[in-house]
């Protein structure tokens, strides 16, 4: 399939497709552990400031993407407080790199992922977790052996939402890492460019179709996985 696609698209477009896939995968994969932890904390703990955390997580959803991108730039840019620390202490630069695009996509997708996982956690019967506790499992083990397997469908749902969002993310990405072909020019950025010039609709449509196909493939895969998991859990 890749071969056919690559032939149909121009090399620059093909580059954008590959970059988008990489960015979305990393964004999803790296934010997943944080997403699970955050969802768990929000679902099961009570602490002062919980609503602040909750609000913070939702921020990227509420604010216009461009504003989120601008804030990311302020914080994680080379001159930004976090960006400077990252660069000087760890040698990590995200500004103007594909990693920055992944960060932007991950941040934008985070609230979607957390909500889905949180909903799944809240649906787990605490009585099962209690039972695991009486059998000697510490809270961490209870989570790993009971909660986690039971919320797998929710994790799959959250990841696919996040992946789809990451594939489509535009505003925050271009504001944070701008549009550098081969570095940060993901599909949506390429599509946007094409739409700005009269007569660019054809190329835009081609790319849009590709991004939809990729996201649909991921969606189908996730449905399949979720159904397998659900079947195992329900035992039928």
């Amino acid at each position: 399939m890749w071969g056919v696609l690559a032939g149909w698209l121009g090399p620059a477009e093909w580059e954008a497709v590959r970059l988008s896939a990489r960015v979305a995968l990393w964004a999803t994969a790296v934010s997943l552990p944080f997403g699970i932890v955050t969802a768990y904390v929000l679902a099961r703990w009570e602490f002062p400031g919980k609503q602040v955390l909750n609000g913070l997580v939702h921020l990227p959803l509420i604010m216009p993407p461009v504003v989120t991108g601008y804030l990311l730039l302020l914080a994680l840019g080379r001159r930004g407080p976090v960006g400077e620390v990252l660069e000087q202490w760890f040698g990590i630069v995200v500004a103007f790199r594909w990693t920055g695009a992944a960060v932007a996509a991950g941040v934008m997708a985070f609230p979607l992922m957390v909500r889905a996982i949180r909903l799944a956690i809240e649906a787990v019967d605490p009585k099962l977790e209690q039972a695991a506790g009486t059998l000697g499992a510490s809270p961490v083990w209870v989570f790993l052996t009971v909660t986690l397997p039971l919320i797998l469908p929710g994790i799959v749902a959250g990841s696919i939402l996040a992946f789809a969002k990451a594939i489509g993310e535009f505003g925050a990405t271009i504001t944070f890492v701008s549009n550098i072909p081969g570095q940060t020019q993901t599909m949506p950025l390429a599509i946007y460019s094409l739409l700005q010039v009269p007569g660019g609709e054809d190329g835009a449509a081609r790319l849009a179709i590709v991004s939809v196909v990729i996201a649909m493939a991921a969606l189908l895969l996730s449905e399949f996985v979720a159904r397998r998991v659900a079947r195992v859990v329900s035992g039928s």
Partner: protein
């Protein structure tokens, strides 16, 4: 807000046009409502029957497209404004440079990026690429260009110091203290930067023509010039 005239205008006109609109209101007692967005969006919306009376485009190509599709009222197109393209640097006291093929643009970047608007989509980016090509600088600098989806965003990268240099309109550079204009592109290095205006074909507003005329009135010209625009003779 129900107004007498609905104007679809390029985002880069935001403040200046508001002032012009206010002056027009003061003079005529009528109200103009402005919608600022990218010209591509506006043009498509007009093609889809948007109730705009006047369209002010950031460049000529979308105006041409509307002309071809018959969405403009005949003989109402005017070139109302021009602009200049400048090279800016981050900081207050950066020495000026001369723009010719000998300029070591990459060296000036010191490993950083040249901030521009989208070079294939946004007028400022398109003009910028033309100019760099004409000067024979494009091929060397292209890998170092970071493109933003509008000029303001390109300006912000330089203002924040994320990018050492950038190419923006003179009008944008003028209002940002954190950047210095280190060169102005020769007018002949790129297609003329012209912002045309016209009345749409479906406009029924009796005040549309009055507003269009006002855009090139002496009052308006003063305001335009105030904001750094070129006002064609």
């Amino acid at each position: 807000a129900a107004g007498d005239v609905l104007v679809f205008a390029a985002s880069s006109l935001t403040t200046a046009l508001d002032r012009v609109g206010a002056a027009w209101s003061a003079e005529t007692g009528h109200v103009a409502v402005m919608s600022y967005a990218g010209s591509s969006a506006h043009a498509r919306q007009i093609q889809q029957g948007a109730p705009a009376d006047i369209f002010i485009s950031a460049s000529t190509d979308w105006m041409d497209a509307l002309e071809v599709s018959g969405d403009l009222r005949a003989d109402t197109r005017r070139d109302i404004l021009g602009n200049r393209l400048v090279l800016i640097a981050h900081g207050g006291d950066v020495p000026p440079v001369t723009l010719d093929e000998t300029l070591d643009l990459v060296g000036l970047l010191e490993g950083g990026q040249l901030s521009m608007a989208l070079v294939e989509a946004v007028p400022a980016g398109i003009y910028g690429r033309q100019a760099l090509r004409a000067l024979g600088l494009w091929d060397i600098v292209a890998p170092h260009v970071a493109q933003s989806y509008n000029v303001r965003s390109a300006l912000a990268f330089v203002a924040l110091g994320e990018a050492p240099l950038g190419i923006v309109y003179a009008t944008d550079a003028a209002v940002e203290d954190a950047v210095t204009v280190i060169a102005t592109f020769p007018q002949d290095s790129h297609a003329p930067i012209i912002l045309p205006a016209a009345i749409t074909a479906q406009s029924t507003s009796p005040e549309a023509l009055s507003f269009l005329e006002f855009l090139i009135s002496p009052t308006a010209r003063t305001i335009w010039a105030d904001h750094g625009f070129d006002v064609p003779g």
